[in-house]
Homo-oligomer: 491 residues x 2
């Protein structure tokens, strides 16, 4: 059995140079696109495009072959057609290349001839002790090394989520959504057909990677389930692992077979084992992102008692429903905390948890309510709905000269906007501050204006949710993670 | 029993003038905000602000009282405190006002004194035959009449969805999401405490409104369930009704009681009756928008057979899984349609449904595959994943001078961008054209770049979905709607 500990993962993610075999000047070819992505990603080491037909490519000196490079090569990226890959692997071995990434597809996923070619390159690389990512991979990324060897034009800011995906498309699109939500990705790996390096090998490496705090897995099938589980179980104790299993049904498994060429395992087996180990299942692709944002942005709750603070009653009702459905508790307000809300809010407030702030248009009051709730020692987490939205609300009236239309004076308008801007900034800052002060998660839900809010949130290293149901489900899974970890620790 | 047929809904949604009792020049008050919204919404009739303290407000002549207006008044909007509302209702009756909207809260939702005040105004308005919306309403909208009597700054383009909501916040935020997704709202009603006009009365009106094709309901509780159901059952046969019930659990019901002051009914009762009538339940708030977009954008499928066309294999697997989970069928490719795909795609395509286009970067090929699938008479609906994404894909390289960095010539870049722009436009146009040609729904799923795509889609009167699971669930519910309607018709 191949021992993947031979692979030098540090050098894979932090190469000093990259040779690119199959480089092209045709913008419709991967040999163009991936090379452009490496350049645009601002890789700081040397790049050696290899193609005997050109002297220069993408503004770089182009080499006729690997052997023509007068340097040791750390990493070779390969995009030539499948039938030519085996010969290129020979050249890489001869050159003493440390690691290769075989982007090329048409291997085991397409039939017996492809499988034969895959075995051939697998054995060659293994015997030579050379790392081989893929084949049929969409590439890797390391935001800490300005390394973007990807088919998709995705460039992540630095961050602490790492992604291992058996589908390159699904993986890069999960990564894009992380970035859209202000969450930076540390390492990304499209593991492809996993001829040599399996997803569990990447996970083991990520377990030791200082820049990785949360791990996301997209899995279609496993070749060595026991090893995979042993690794995940250990790493999950310090770094939450979020997995999404596809090929859950007969139809899905059949589709997966033609996709990565392996049979998918039963979802029930995965679920029962993963649950036992506290490894978190994302049940939908939306939930993958929701959970990543949750684990990156919020402390894990100590228990399942939730306080709800809402600007509108309806959202409070929806959130209370979902908490009950998901097994979270809404404690009744204690006399003391009731008194606090009664002092802050108008007489017609809801008098119970969820606390309905009855549309009071004051961010200052929203913050006071939020703090009264999070400070209360009978709640483990707080969900805030639509608070802080007043700024968006009133500012819109002042667009496009409504000030003149409704006869407000210019100085009044300017003063008003100033107050609103300051309040909006202070609200967002305060969410994070309150969370750190009380070390409890505060999940903030917005809806209807998601785009502008999401952009603002990026500046505050915070996550908002698009619906209360999604926030509640994240909280529930974070709570289950905590409970399972405690149970395993106390065994 | 009050007969709501006395209410002149046409005049409510298309008043010739509006009196505003409680108008204010303080931007923190609803008397300012709602009045500003009416003005910003570009209402074409006369507006009469009423407040004895001002001669002018928002650039309009201000009146000391209703009686000072030398005109018949169609609609009076009331924002004065609860204790003063009853006297204002007297004035409205004396003036012969047709309809009133009581924005003011602190009525039956807050206790016995509020309930007494509510009964008082209810009886007065009813006896006088004057329509009364609310109290505790966030207002109404009619995009066809430039009528925006709302607490929130939401201005919809014209469209064919109408919304009746027992929560003003939830309702306006559903409306915002419709607008964000390019779907215009015809009528919006925040029904408030429903002292006189009940949600079923609005629904009956919407049934006869020519500009309404799809109806959305947010319900916490019903006072006359039988009447409500009779009306919904009839209207649902010609206009799909999407309902979201909140107060599903004990905790949710308790929250609802303090919100609209009524007891919520059991969700099981609602579900079983609605299902029997083919009325569609949105199970989450996200699903409300998904369903609205589906019913507005796509023809209802004739059956449950789905063809999947995907640019990346992983998304195909996820979609196949969800179809099976939701009871939709993926027919096996017939020999004829197999041959079509085999002629279009490279040899290593998936050879089955889902059709994996194996990352071929050609929009022309994506469209050919889509048409081969939708034209096939063994599918009732098509789900397309990530097709047409090539343009986004390659264009990004050409941002910010990458052309110079990678040594492309300017004229090459310009030609390239031109091709991509044309292809992107043609792809989006073609989605709608194929749908109309074959009269089958084609649901398009994007992920990772939702914002830019959503904006583009608005120009093409089309909806995209953010995840395959959400697209599949919409398709399933559209199919169930069709099945139930057929069953009822054939009885």
């Amino acid at each position: 059995m191949y021992e993947t500990c031979n692979v030098d993962f540090e050098k894979l993610f932090n190469p000093e140079n990259i040779a690119f075999i199959g480089a092209s000047n045709n913008p419709w070819k991967w040999g163009f696109i991936i090379l452009a992505n490496i350049i645009r990603g601002d890789f700081q080491g040397k790049i050696y495009p290899i193609n005997p037909n050109y002297k220069e490519l993408h503004g770089l000196e182009c080499y006729p072959s690997l052997s023509a490079i007068n340097d040791n090569v750390d990493l070779a990226v390969i995009t030539v057609p499948a039938k030519k890959v085996s010969a290129v692997i020979d050249e890489c071995i001869e050159k003493g290349v440390n690691n290769t990434i075989v982007i090329t597809s048409d291997f085991s996923e397409t039939g017996e001839e492809g499988a034969r070619l895959e075995r051939e390159i697998s054995v060659k690389a293994r015997s030579a002790g050379m790392g081989l990512v893929g084949p049929n991979t969409m590439g890797i990324l390391n935001s800490y090394g300005n390394l973007n060897i990807l088919m998709s034009p995705v460039y992540s800011m630095k961050g602490h989520v790492s992604i291992v995906s058996q589908s390159g498309n699904v993986g890069t699109q999960i990564m894009s959504e992380c970035i859209n939500n202000g969450v930076g990705v540390s390492k990304f790996i499209s593991s492809g057909n996993e001829a040599n390096i399996k997803c569990e090998d990447y996970i083991r490496y990520l377990g030791s990677d200082e820049q990785t705090e949360v791990i996301v897995l997209y899995i279609e099938s496993l070749k060595d389930g026991k090893k995979f589980l042993d690794i995940c179980r250990e790493i999950n104790m310090s770094k939450p692992i979020i997995f999404f299993k596809s090929g859950k049904t007969r139809g899905g498994m059949a589709a997966a077979a033609s996709h990565t060429g392996a049979m998918a395992g039963s979802i029930d087996v995965y679920r029962s084992v993963f649950k036992q180990y506290g490894i978190i299942e994302a049940e939908t692709t939306d939930e993958i992102i929701d959970l990543v944002c949750g684990f990156v942005s919020f402390p894990v709750p100590e228990g399942n008692r939730v306080g709800i603070v809402t600007l509108g009653g309806g959202w409070g009702v929806i959130t209370a429903d979902e908490c009950e459905i998901q097994g979270l508790k809404l404690p009744e307000l204690s006399r003391e905390v009731y008194g606090k809300f009664d002092a802050i809010l108008p007489g017609y407030w809801s008098k119970q948890n969820p606390v309905d702030m009855v549309a009071v248009a004051s961010i200052d009051i929203h913050l006071k309510c939020l703090e009264a709730m999070v400070a209360w020692d009978e709640v483990d987490a707080v969900i805030g709905l639509a608070g802080g939205a007043v700024s968006n609300f009133l500012k819109i009236f002042l667009d496009d000269g409504l000030d003149r239309k409704i006869g407000l004076r210019q100085e009044e308008v300017a003063g008003f906007i100033d107050i609103l801007n300051k309040e909006a900034v202070s609200y967002k800052k305060s969410l994070g501050e309150l969370m750190r002060k009380y070390n409890k998660p505060i999940l903030h839900v917005e809806i209807g204006n998601s785009v502008s809010i999401s952009r603002n949130m990026k500046d505050f290293n915070y996550t908002f949710y698009r619906s209360p149901e999604r926030a509640v489900r994240v909280l529930k899974k974070m709570y289950l993670f905590k409970k399972m970890k405690d149970r395993i620790r106390n065994k």
